[in-house]
């Protein structure tokens, strides 16, 4: 399928202030991330046509869905949008399969049941076709909602806090399923969340929202290493996110060797295959800086690099040091005292020390990391 | 049972309906039945207080004839141009003091028993028809006034919407007694429910009961109007305690 990008520009002063502009291409996962009340859901609702901002321009490929300039507004039921609601919003009086069939009105009547069953099989609910929502668990409801959203054969898939209502263990499994599913779906996917875990695990792009305003927007790797986003620092802590490949497995030691644009890392992992692509996140608090490479430590990972920036924020006790390791920007959060003791400044070569257990591995090709909760 | 499923009567199949004062409840039903037997046509009778029925007629109720308990109400309708003519007096009604079985009220035509019981504080409730809408209530008021009982008894009165309801109150033991229509207590069903004394006609304005044919009266009802003045109807009226008009 050809790329059918979703481009969105929203602007209004109230009642919910909005000022965002973004484009999401097929295959991309844009995470709209921000604290509650920042207008995340309003953006999704605007895309779906459930909300009409005072100034808006929303296009899906060549189709105009909303354009307040020309007065164009396509009602929600004529937009090819798949929306998974936060509380799933299943139709309580209909069985799982009829919930999905409701969204298949564009298909000939005779095909609907088969198609709905296929979709429910896809989300592993083939055995619960005739259950009503009240007879399904939280995770199962979420899957029905997902199948129903996909049934529409949408040009864009919207997920509103899709994991907020399920418990932690189910959440991991669903995250992985959505991650593998979206690779087979050639459409833009927008995910609204206030949980950074979702962003790290699923997003290719991030839109950071604060009171309806986009404070940052771009590919995830670039955004994660921006220490100027103070609230992000408060909320989840800074960290570096970059892609790597599994080079080797040391099954006996319970470790895997990862190569990236800047060196190799040893990380604990039980279930990754060799050559698998993974996403690595290293929290800035877990990185120790040293002026010389130490010896005699239990440490596996010592990376050499050069300081490219030092971020001092009066609002924080700590200082964020940005270190170029090969082509990866690594972030380290240290005290002001350490900065002056070590004489850290831009251009200075330093060593970054990282404990293996501090490295978070996120599957980025549908395979599972060690802590997926199964 | 089949009648259950038919639609409410339309305009065309409506049986002729006449309105009658509540004191006629038994007498007029008997006369209407007699009329039906003799002439083979039926008239429906709706009973109520003369004042209430007058109001309904003025508001457009589809009655074809009105038999009142006095002359004033039908005269109002005549003045409003709703009747064929001034109509005719068909009967003179009588009032009785009634006490249900077991009541402490001793009945007499001079109301002495009522007066004594009232002084002794023994009158809890005393039933008359509402003087505003029922001529028999008006007659009851006049009677009580004449004996100087109106003011002391006022707070004890229960007012029936019509003389039939007042009789209901008086005969079921809900009141120590009442001033009600003679025609109602003549009914065998009520006669054994208590004792009564006929009030002299001089105690209140005469209950000259007038009937009028309304403008929309059909020939059947016009026949009934004449039938009311005939010997058969008169006989039934007299049997039921009315006097023939002079």
């Amino acid at each position: 399928m050809a790329d059918r990008p979703l481009s969105v520009a929203l602007r209004q002063g109230g009642p919910i202030p909005l000022d965002v502009e973004f484009t999401c291409h097929s295959g991309e996962v844009l995470a709209i991330f921000g604290p509650s009340g920042s207008g995340k859901t309003t953006i999704l609702r605007s895309v779906a046509g459930l909300y009409k901002p005072s100034h808006a321009s929303i296009h899906s490929g060549a189709d105009t869905w909303t354009d307040t300039e020309t007065g164009t507004f396509v009602p929600p039921y004529r937009r090819a949008v798949g929306l998974v609601f936060q509380e799933y919003a299943l139709f309580p009086h209909l069985t799982a399969v009829h919930n999905v069939m409701t969204a298949l009105g564009h298909r000939p009547r005779v095909e609907r049941r088969d198609k709905a069953e296929t979709l429910l099989n896809l989300v592993h609910l083939g055995g619960q076709l005739s259950r009503r929502p009240s007879e399904l668990s939280g995770g199962e409801r979420q899957r029905v909602a997902l199948a129903r959203a996909l049934a529409r054969e949408p040009a864009v898939l919207l997920l509103d806090e899709p994991f907020a209502a399920v418990d932690r263990s189910v959440r991991r499994r669903l995250q992985n399923e959505i991650d593998s599913l979206r690779r087979t779906l050639d459409m833009p996917l927008i995910l609204v969340t206030h949980d950074f875990d979702d962003v790290v695990r699923l997003a290719t792009h991030v839109l950071m929202l604060e009171q309806g305003r986009a404070v940052a927007c771009g590919p995830i790797a670039a955004l994660m290493s921006r220490p100027d986003l103070s609230w992000l620092r408060e909320a989840v802590g800074l960290g570096s996110v970059f892609d790597a490949t599994v080079a080797k497995r040391h099954a006996d030691r319970g470790l895997v060797e990862l190569t990236f644009d800047g060196g190799t890392l040893l990380a604990p992992a039980r279930h990754v295959d060799v050559n698998a692509a993974v996403r690595v996140r290293i929290p800035a608090r877990e990185v120790v800086l040293a002026t010389s490479a130490p010896a005699g430590l239990s440490l596996h990972n010592v990376l050499g690099g050069t300081v490219t920036a030092v971020h001092i924020d009066a609002a924080f006790e700590t200082v964020v040091v940005q270190l170029a390791v090969g082509r990866v920007e690594l972030l380290a959060e240290v005290t002001r005292d350490a900065v002056s003791r070590l004489g850290i400044d831009v251009g200075r070569p330093l060593h970054a020390l990282i404990k293996s257990v501090s490295i978070e591995l996120v599957a980025s090709d549908g395979s599972h990391t060690g802590d997926d909760g199964r | 049972m089949l009648r259950l499923f038919g639609l409410p009567d339309g305009v065309t199949q409506r049986p002729p309906t006449i309105a009658a004062a509540a004191n006629l409840n038994f007498a007029l039903t008997e006369i209407a039945n007699q009329f039906e037997r003799e002439r083979g046509t039926r008239v429906e009778v709706v009973f109520g207080a003369s004042g209430t029925l007058t109001r309904q007629i003025r508001d457009g109720a589809p009655f074809e004839m009105f038999l009142a308990a006095d002359e004033e109400f039908p005269n109002q309708l005549t003045a409003a141009g709703l009747t064929r003519d001034g109509g005719a007096v068909y009967a003179i009604g009588r009032l009785v003091l009634f006490a249900p079985n077991g009541s402490r009220l001793k009945v007499d035509e001079r109301l002495d028993g009522l007066s004594r019981l009232l002084n002794a504080g023994g009158v809890t409730r005393f039933a008359i028809a509402n003087p505003e809408v029922a001529p028999y209530g008006r007659a009851a008021e006049a009677t009580l006034r004449k004996h100087g009982l109106w003011d002391p008894i006022r707070s004890r009165l229960v007012l029936g919407d019509s003389i039939a309801q007042a009789a209901q109150f008086a005969t079921t033991g809900n009141a120590v007694g009442g001033l009600i229509a003679y025609s109602l207590v003549k009914e065998p069903a009520l006669a054994d429910k208590g004792t009564y004394a006929l009030i002299p006609q001089t105690d209140h304005p005469t209950l000259r009961q007038r009937m009028v044919l309304l403008k929309q009266a059909t020939p059947v009802v016009a026949q009934f109007y004449h039938y009311m003045q005939g010997p058969a109807a008169r006989a039934i009226l007299v049997k039921n305690g009315y006097e023939a008009p002079r």
Binding site: R45, A48, G49, L50, P75, P76, Y77, R78, V81, G82, L83, F85, Q86, E87, A89, L90, F91, P92, H93, T102, A103, G105, H106, R132, S134, E135, R148, A149, A151, R152 | M1, R3, L4, G6, P8, D9, V11, R14, P15, T17, A22, N25, F26, E44, V46, F47, Q56, R58, D59, G60, A61, P62, S162, A164, Q165, A167, Q168, T171, E187, A189
Partner: protein, 222 residues
């Protein structure tokens, strides 16, 4: 037993439902879904017949549609008889008196539907009519059913307005409740007793049916 009165009572109940239910569904949904200026006033007006003595309603109806009013005269010249003291007049009075019994349960029924579910229906590609027909109406059904039953039961029991506007005309406006009154006045306690028992039985049966049906149709139950 006055079969004609029972027949009129049943027809009045059914007729009131037939008139009010479609209107009630439309209006109840409007009140549940929309916000508009003056909504509070509209809601109060809808509820007024609930707290108003029936005689007030009767008074205004007679005043508006009586033979002495211009509207009443216009109606009479059109149909041939005045609106009061006719079954149609009774139906109109009954419809007005029952507005709150219809609108309120239906409004609650539609209000109970989460707005997300309504939005989800739109996002599934259902047109507004399909959303209403396939999602909202089935979910609001217990409210609609309650409205119908309440109206029916209330119509059977209505007395004040019926007597005032209807005038106790046999075969036309004499409902069972008025017939009981009428029989009482005629000292016919036997007939009054039979009819009272009939009315009691119908009312109990009606309410039992509602409870049973609403239990069976409640969507929250599996």
């Amino acid at each position: 037993m006055d079969w004609a009165a029972l027949r009129i009572s049943l027809w009045l109940g059914a007729g009131t439902i037939a008139i009010l239910l479609p209107l009630g569904v439309w209006f109840g949904r409007l009140l549940a879904v929309r916000d508009f200026r003056g909504k509070l006033l509209v809601e109060a007006l809808v509820t007024v017949p609930l707290v108003l003595p029936p005689t007030v309603l009767g008074f205004y109806l007679l005043l508006t549609f009586g033979a002495r009013s211009p509207i009443g005269q216009a109606f009479q010249s059109l149909v041939g008889h005045p609106l009061p003291f006719s079954f149609q007049g009774l139906l109109l009075a009954s419809a007005i008196a029952n507005i709150p019994f219809v609108v309120q349960p239906i409004q609650r029924g539609f209000e109970a539907i989460p707005s997300d579910v309504r939005d989800a229906a739109a996002c599934c590609g259902l047109t507004p009519w399909q959303q209403f027909r396939r999602i909202e109406l089935p979910l609001a059904w217990p409210g609609v059913l309650t409205a119908a039953i309440l109206t029916f039961a209330h119509t059977l029991g209505e007395f004040g307005v019926v007597l005032m506007v209807g005038g106790n005309l046999p075969g036309q406006t004499r409902t069972l409740s008025v017939a009981i009154y009428d029989r009482m006045q005629a000292f016919d306690d036997r007939s009054a007793g039979i009819m009272a028992a009939t009315l009691l039985a119908i009312s109990v049966a009606t309410l039992m049916t509602t409870t049973a049906l609403s239990r069976r149709m409640s969507p929250s139950r599996g």
